[in-house]
């Protein structure tokens, strides 16, 4: 009671106001304190593991071992072999990102802005390849496009009587094709809602001024989508550089080396019984610098330009009537679905019912793979852990991403560039090495901060890994919203939080949901950090899949892949229902 009275006395005498004023004069405002906390949290998630990796690249031994600081890791980078690997990596990633982006824009336009039939269903179907683990589609394409025994080539040779195969997946083309199947739906997910959120009045004005449909698309639609497109391009390009399964599966037989296979070799004892982490981390840091320069170019490109399309003026989504051409666009979507989903997933589905994947002898038909997966307690434990980590992780990540994006795009606060940069970092490091960075970072913490060996290690790593996507999705969304909307709300007497809830969140909600789905499935697929950080009892689905794969149980892996596909369909259905409901409410 005495304390309460004392505080009341302080307030009466205005002591708190004095203190507050003094603190404010020193810069301790709630906003600044919030920014400092945000910087510290992001720093712990991104800079701290990165610092461990930079240490690794400059020290002859990994943390905790006696050694010396030197530049040997970087010196080793300067070789013709590495230059070829780097050029291969950049070339492959560029060659897969450009057509993927073109296809994604085409599909986004078809789904969001045309009267193509069954758009709702097509939207779900087009995105399916994104959610299937790459190793599985690689396995399926290894059988479909094998030059000697591949089904496609056998069918082609039987039909034409030729002896030369039509396709060979063990080539540059094979790597690019396999990567495209993943990046096209990824890019599509990223940009389809940007198409939806665009005010068609701008395009209508262009058309009324005499511009052709193509010119309008090129000069108005595409230009307004520049932030979302460049964000998506960079994310996908970087992911292409970091891809491992496709080059390993399709590149190694053809002698194609890329940066990630170099890192894999370095970690896996290329020079004796000690893994060469110094070289592996030096490659990764070099890649990070390269990627960072690319992001800087993007920032320079977009600086000072406005991409606002959603203003206070009402609009209704404009749908282009395609007439009979709508069946052509429908056909294009179906063709993509057939080639990228039906063919490989069909292989997985069929394979899951046979004793050996790829050997379709009726005497080997079995349900044993389903029984084994269904009765595997480890699988169910992994599933439950993944769901909990996925739902909580992606929700926290999206809120974090929304805050970072808001500060970065819609404020002039000091430190906004720093948090935006920090949020990018995890995306720029190859996952294989980043997992080790997290392991070193968490294990080196004092025992009084019990993160290593607990489920918290996975949770924090997932937030760090998901933040780049969350921020990019929300940046793209906020960049389209006019500031007038917020100002108008405030002028009409709404509080900051009312404005946030009724204007910003309400309008950015569809992007938030897309980001949530991308992050959720990112967590579902994440392996590099999971395998270094999971502990007994906190196994996740990707680790279970990896263990089965290492044990040569491709058939059971196929069952899990189909199960994941089912999950995707359910989640996407719920997402689209929510979106539809939201748009109706608006």
């Amino acid at each position: 009671m005495t304390t309460v009275n004392a505080i009341a006395g302080d307030i009466r005498e205005g002591r708190y106001e004095d203190r507050y004023r003094r603190l404010k004069s020193w810069g301790f405002t709630p906003r600044n304190i919030g920014m400092i906390l945000l910087i510290l949290f992001l720093g712990f998630l991104t800079l701290y593991p990165l610092a461990m990796l930079i240490y690794g690249s400059l020290h002859s031994t990994p943390p905790g071992m006696a050694g010396e600081f030197n530049l040997n890791g970087y010196r080793e980078l300067l070789s013709t072999h590495n230059l070829i690997a780097l050029l291969n990596t950049l070339g492959i990633s560029f060659a897969k990102t450009i057509p993927s982006l073109a296809l994604a824009v085409l599909f986004s336009w078809i789904i969001a802005r045309t009267d193509t039939p069954f758009r709702g269903q097509l939207e779900v179907l087009i995105t399916l390849p994104f959610f299937v683990p790459s190793i599985l589609t690689a396995m399926a394409w290894g059988m479909l496009g094998n030059p000697k025994v591949g089904l496609i080539n056998q069918a082609y040779m039987a039909m034409t009587g030729g002896t030369e195969p039509l396709i060979n997946v063990f080539s540059y083309g094979g790597i690019i094709w396999h990567l495209m199947q993943h990046s096209t739906p990824f890019l599509f997910l990223f940009i389809v809602d940007v198409f939806r959120a665009m005010d068609p009045a701008l395009e209508d004005s262009s058309r009324m001024c005499g511009a052709s449909r193509w010119r309008t698309f090129r000069s108005i639609t595409l230009l307004l989508m520049l932030p979302a497109l460049t964000n998506a391009f960079i994310l996908s390009f970087i992911r292409g550089i970091e891809s491992f399964e496709s080059p390993l599966f399709f590149g190694s037989p053809a002698g194609i080396t890329v940066v990630t296979t170099e890192i894999f070799n370095a970690i896996n004892y290329r020079s004796g019984p000690q893994p060469d982490y110094q070289y592996a981390t030096a490659i990764s840091v070099a890649i990070l610098v390269l990627m960072f320069l690319m992001v800087l170019v993007q920032w320079r490109m977009l600086r000072g330009r406005s991409f606002v399309t959603v203003t206070g003026k009402g609009y209704s989504p404009n749908v282009t009537k395609l007439g009979p051409w709508r069946w052509v666009t429908f056909g294009i979507c179906v063709l993509f679905f057939v080639v990228t989903v039906v063919l490989p997933i069909g292989q997985l589905a069929v394979g899951s019912f046979f004793r050996f994947f790829g050997f379709y002898d009726p005497s080997m038909l079995t349900l044993a793979n389903y029984v084994k997966v269904g009765t595997n307690p480890e699988f169910w434990r992994g599933f439950c852990n993944t769901m909990v980590l996925g739902v909580l992780g992606s929700t926290v990540t999206m809120f974090l991403g929304a805050i970072v994006a808001y500060i970065s795009v819609r404020t002039r606060w000091r430190g906004r560039t720093l948090i935006d940069t920090m949020a990018w970092l995890p995306w720029m490091m190859p996952g294989m090495v980043l997992g080790i960075g997290f392991l070193w970072a968490f294990a080196i913490l004092p025992k009084s901060i019990p993160i290593y060996g607990t489920i918290w290690a996975l949770f924090l790593a997932y937030i760090a890994l998901g933040t780049p996507i969350a921020v990019r999705v929300m940046v793209g969304s906020y960049a389209q919203l006019s500031l007038d909307l917020e100002e108008c709300s405030r002028v009409h007497g709404a509080t900051f939080f009312q404005t946030l809830w009724r204007i910003l969140i309400a309008l950015a909600w569809p992007s938030f949901v897309v980001g949530w789905v991308l992050t959720f499935f990112g967590i579902l697929r994440e392996l590099s950090a999971s395998v270094m950080l999971y502990s007994v009892g906190s196994e996740v689905l990707s680790v279970i899949v990896m263990k089965l794969w290492l044990n040569g149980l491709a058939e059971q892996v196929s069952v899990i892949a189909l199960f994941m596909m089912l999950l995707v369909i359910v989640f996407r259905w719920v997402q689209l229902r929510l979106l539809k409901h939201h748009i109706t409410t608006l």
Partner: protein, 335 residues
């Protein structure tokens, strides 16, 4: 004479006493292990469910719960090293390949498990002092049964140089570490550089997806795969492939158990490593097609696997000079 008898009697008494003390000590270790109640095993061996089965048998015998964490060899090794270096030891025992475990031994991440009763049964050579060899993964040939009729398969390693196999052989990558390089190192040592220079003219198809390769042979894409883990032959029974053991023997990688330094449950760790050398645990490994470290298990091993499990072993990779051998493999095979 009396002196001699007295000396022999005294020596015998000392031997019996030390055996009794040792047994007494081991009983104490087992009793303490049971009080530790559980154990964490870090397993970097990507085999099948063999260790799950062994863990269940161990749990049944001693009532000690085994928690097993599995991953790729290099990832498991880095976990062990980091835990030891940062004083965050969670794991008690690690099971891993020779390369990973030798590296950990050099990084001072292990401790000697002390005298284990079953250690005397081990016939495999040790690479480092803390090692307990458990079994080996041996690499032979698989041939497609339809493309290579019985009697036509290679009988010796030199037979794969026959021009009739040109373009029909799939091989694991030899110029990066792994199964292919282990095979390269052993055959280089035994048959010389000339063997590889001739093999390079056979237009080998290289692949790094080791698990996929026997299936590609079974599909008829290639006539043979020259580094098949013999344990895969049993697993793929039903497919049109046959395991072939050339008469010189098989290159191999040994898998060993080691006790992690500052293991939180040291006694359970000792009892576990000793248990993997028990006949019932070794039989689980042999039934999966792995030559085991305690030697021939006789007719307990299924007849179809006996010739693979008891195949002569050609040798294992010497880890010294690996960097030079990798360079040589790159040069010979143009990779």
């Amino acid at each position: 004479m009396t002196r001699l008898i007295s000396f022999v009697t005294a020596a015998l008494l000392v031997a019996i006493y030390s055996m009794a003390v040792s047994a007494q000590n081991w009983d104490d270790i087992v009793a303490t292990a049971k009080k530790e109640r559980e154990l964490t095993v870090y397993n970097g061996f990507g085999g099948g469910d063999e260790f799950k089965e062994i863990n269940a048998l161990f749990q049944k015998r001693y009532g000690i719960t085994v928690k097993m964490l599995e991953g790729r060899g290099s990832e498991i090794a880095e976990r062990v090293r980091t835990e030891v270096a940062t004083g965050h030891a969670i794991g008690d025992v690690t099971v891993n390949g020779a390369t990973a475990n030798t590296g950990l031994s050099q990084a001072n991440a292990f401790q000697v498990p002390g005298t284990l009763p079953n250690m005397s049964k081990v016939i495999l050579e040790k690479t480092f002092v803390e090692e307990v060899p458990l079994f080996v993964n041996a690499y032979g040939i698989t041939v497609n049964s339809k493309l290579v009729p019985p009697g036509q398969e290679p009988k010796t390693w030199a037979d794969i140089l026959d021009p009739k196999w040109k373009g029909k052989i799939i091989s694991d990558e030899m110029s990066s570490s792994g199964t292919g390089h282990t095979w390269f190192s052993v055959t280089l040592e035994k048959f010389g550089e000339d063997f590889h220079r001739k093999l390079a003219t056979q237009n080998l198809q290289f692949s790094r997806t080791v698990r996929e390769n026997p299936r590609r042979v079974a599909m008829g894409e290639f006539a043979m795969y020259i580094q098949t883990a013999m344990s895969d032959v049993g697993r793929l029974e039903g497919l049109p492939i046959r395991g072939v053991v050339p008469k010189e023997g098989l290159p191999y990688t040994s898998f060993s158990g080691a006790m992690i330094k500052n293991a939180p449950r040291p006694n359970a760790a000792r009892v576990y490593i000793n248990f993997v050398l028990e006949p019932e645990a070794q039989l689980v490994l042999a039934k999966a097609g792995f030559p085991v470290s305690t030697g021939d298990l006789g007719d307990k091993v299924p007849a179809n696997l006996r010739h693979l499990v008891n195949a002569p072993l050609l040798g294992r990779q010497n880890l010294e000079g690996q960097a030079e051998r990798l360079k040589l493999a790159k040069e010979i095979y143009g990779r």
